[in-house]
Amino acid sequence: MDQRAILERAQQGDERAFGVLVDVHLARLDATARLILRDPDLARDAVQECLIRAWRGLPNLRDPERLEAWLYRLTANACFDVLRQQRRRPIEVELAKSDGPVVPDYSAALVEAELIHRALGRLDPGQRAVVALHFLVGMPLTEVAATLRIPVGTAKSRLHQSLVVMRATVPRRSDEAADTVPGGQLA
């Protein structure tokens, strides 16, 4: 059964069809929410909210090709709604350990990943949202801007600022090491 037929069944209230439609996107929606919110529990709340909105709004979706972009839009909006609700109390920022492998590994690539993870913690949620949608989801910046409902210029400047922060955090040495000594030791 093609996507359009599945979409039509989900639009008519078929819960299994809805599950088929969104299931393939769940891991990446969760990743996007965790990158923006840096809290697994809040990310789950955001994904939950995204799916509720998707289920309710699905009858109005015409084009199956828009489904994926629409889901990311709902996820990003849900993340910002979560942040809005969290304003009154401090956000517990996940800083200690990345979600990567727990087995100690001192390869240059993993050190670099850990540094990137920390660098992301220095960004604000708006910057992280742009990084997530552009680099993790692979959206062009025009689509990132449309998804977040921000001007393209704002998306560009946020991405630029984010990269400046990440470049400052990730030493040049690790770039070169990753080029020449895959799996090498921590400098």
Binding site: D2, Q3, R4, E15, G19, V22, D23, L26, A27, D30, A31, T32, R44, V47, Q48, L51, I52, A54, W55, R56, G57, N60, R62, D63, P64, E65, R66, W70, L83, R84, S98, D99, G100, E112, A113, D124, G126, V131, H134, F135, G138, P140, L141, T142, A146, L148, R149, P151, V152, G153, T154, K156, S157, L159, H160, L163, R167, V170, R172, D175
Partner: protein, 485 residues
């Protein structure tokens, strides 16, 4: 490869490793909760029983009559008229809304501020300084610039904006929205008579699945906009009244507004696969008439000729499940012409040869010259497994509308550049004609800094093929002022 290059190149892989895991353990729970949610919750209680569209349309269309303002304006107008008579001044000559005109200033946005630049001298002037302004668009008569003004540092947390106009010298700022609005999805286009500013607003009856509707603000004063008619989705206005990414929703997708010369008809795209249709209709959705219906072809980017007699558009094979029925897919888009009455469907450039082996050729963004004699179109060549960011090659082609003969301007913007987003059939316009039709303004980004650096603009003289880079950075597609010829 520089350190910076490497970071951006590796980020997708690093982020994938850091954040993307298997299917979340909570997946079944959140799916169960979602599908147990009643779908009717999104509609306001009243709207479940009363159709709100006619009501809201009526409310928007009949604002309170501002007697005091009218009186003051009348007095002011009399005083101004008397002054004009006294000094014996003639009214300033304005250009017609369509057809060739003189080249004036270029409005653009950089870092949230608006500027006008003189493309001849390179001199620029800031006309706003609030760091929240965007989308500057000159009126067809060249007298004012419409734009959006936001106030929040995080627009995601506060979508409210004002629709504002200002004179090109920065004076006469006029806010058209009585209150800041959070429902504006796209802005701004002008009606041909330069009296109204069109915007695309989100219909909030179901905020989780918004669709959009055309509205018109009176450019002379603040007031509620007039709703122009039936719901339409997918519209993102720019100065040429064309389309961009929008939101899913019911109804047709408005793709091009304002049929010249009166600006009273729009084009919409509709699809009931495998049939795809371009439909012409009144601004209120009435008197709809299919212009083109093609089976197994996806349609896009319809654009009126300056005299309103012909429509240019793009089409690509659509076999279902995607633009070309496979994944990954690089569809071949070609530009077509059709008469406004639906007759005379033909390829814009029938002489185009086959692409190089292993490449897919696409034609994007057919752009009518101001006199309607020529269409500029970007012809791009992609390897199906090539990078997403940019085509392998891009060439600007000028096609004689009457004969189909073409002139190719290879690598016109210069080496090291790729043409903005203009290769993408779904992208934003990055190329526009000068009002006099002698140049093309091409928004580009520098290939070595893509995608996060600011755009640059190349001015291409189509006769001499000489290119000039405008000496100012910007973050938006520039808008060129029309002057009386």
């Amino acid at each position: 490869m520089t350190s910076a290059d490497r970071l951006e190149q590796d980020l997708p892989r690093i982020l994938e490793r850091l954040y993307v895991g298997p299917r979340p353990l909570y997946a079944d729970d959140v799916l169960r909760v979602a599908t147990r949610t009643p779908r009717s919750l999104g509609a306001p209680t009243l709207e479940r029983w009363v159709p709100m569209t006619p009501v809201t349309g009526w409310i928007a269309a009949t604002p309170r009559f501002p007697w005091r303002v009218v009186g003051l304006v009348a007095l002011l107008a009399i005083a101004l008229a008397a002054a004009a008579l006294f000094v014996g001044k003639q009214p300033e000559k304005r250009p017609a809304p369509y057809g060739p005109a003189g080249n004036g200033l270029i409005a653009y946005e950089y870092a949230g501020n608006l500027y006008v630049g003189d493309p001849v001298t390179g001199q620029t002037t800031a006309i706003t300084s609030r760091a929240g302004d965007r989308n500057p668009t000159f009126s067809p008569d060249g007298s004012r610039i419409a734009f959006l003004r936001s106030y929040a540092y995080y627009p995601e947390l506060d979508h409210r904006v004002d629709v504002v106009t200002v004179r090109p010298d920065g004076a006469g700022l006029r806010v058209l929205t009585p209150e800041r609005r959070s429902d504006i999805a796209a802005c701004c286009a002008w009606t041909p008579d330069s009296t109204r500013v069109l915007a695309d607003i989100l219909v909030e009856s179901d905020p989780e699945a918004p669709y959009t509707r055309l509205v018109a603000f009176d450019a002379s004063r603040a007031g509620e906009p007039q709703a122009l008619g039936t719901a339409a989705s997918g519209l993102a206005l720019d100065e040429q009244g064309c389309c961009g990414p929008g939101f899913p929703g019911p109804g047709p997708q408005v793709a091009a507004v304002l049929r010249p010369p009166r600006g009273d008809r729009i084009l919409s795209l509709g699809d009931a696969w495998p049939r795809h249709t371009i439909t012409e209709m009144n601004l209120d959705g009435g008197d709809a008439r299919a212009v083109v219906t093609l089976e197994f072809y996806d349609l896009g980017q319809p654009a009126w000729s300056p005299d309103g007699s012909t429509i240019a558009f793009n089409a690509a094979v659509d076999m279902g499940g995607g633009p070309c029925g496979q994944s990954p897919c690089t569809p071949e888009w070609r530009a077509y012409l059709v008469n406004a009455d639906g007759s005379g469907l033909r390829l814009l450039a029938p002489e185009a040869g086959p692409p190089p082996p292993g490449m897919v050729m696409s034609e994007a963004n057919p752009l009518w010259s101001p006199d309607g004699s020529t269409i500029a179109v970007w012809r791009t060549f992609d390897r199906p497994d090539g990078p997403d960011c940019c085509p392998d090659a891009a060439r600007l082609v000028l096609v004689d509308v009457a004969t189909g003969a073409e002139r190719e301007i290879e690598a016109a913007p210069g080496q090291g550049y790729v043409p903005g987003t203009s290769w993408s059939p779904d992208g934003l316009l990055g190329t526009s004609w000068s009002p006099d039709g002698r140049s093309l303004l091409i928004s580009i980004f520098r290939a070595e800094t893509w995608p996060y650096d600011q755009d640059a603009t190349i001015m291409l003289d189509i006769e001499t093929r000489q290119t000039t880079e405008l000496p100012w950075p910007h973050y938006s597609v520039p808008s060129w002022q029309r002057l009386a010829p």
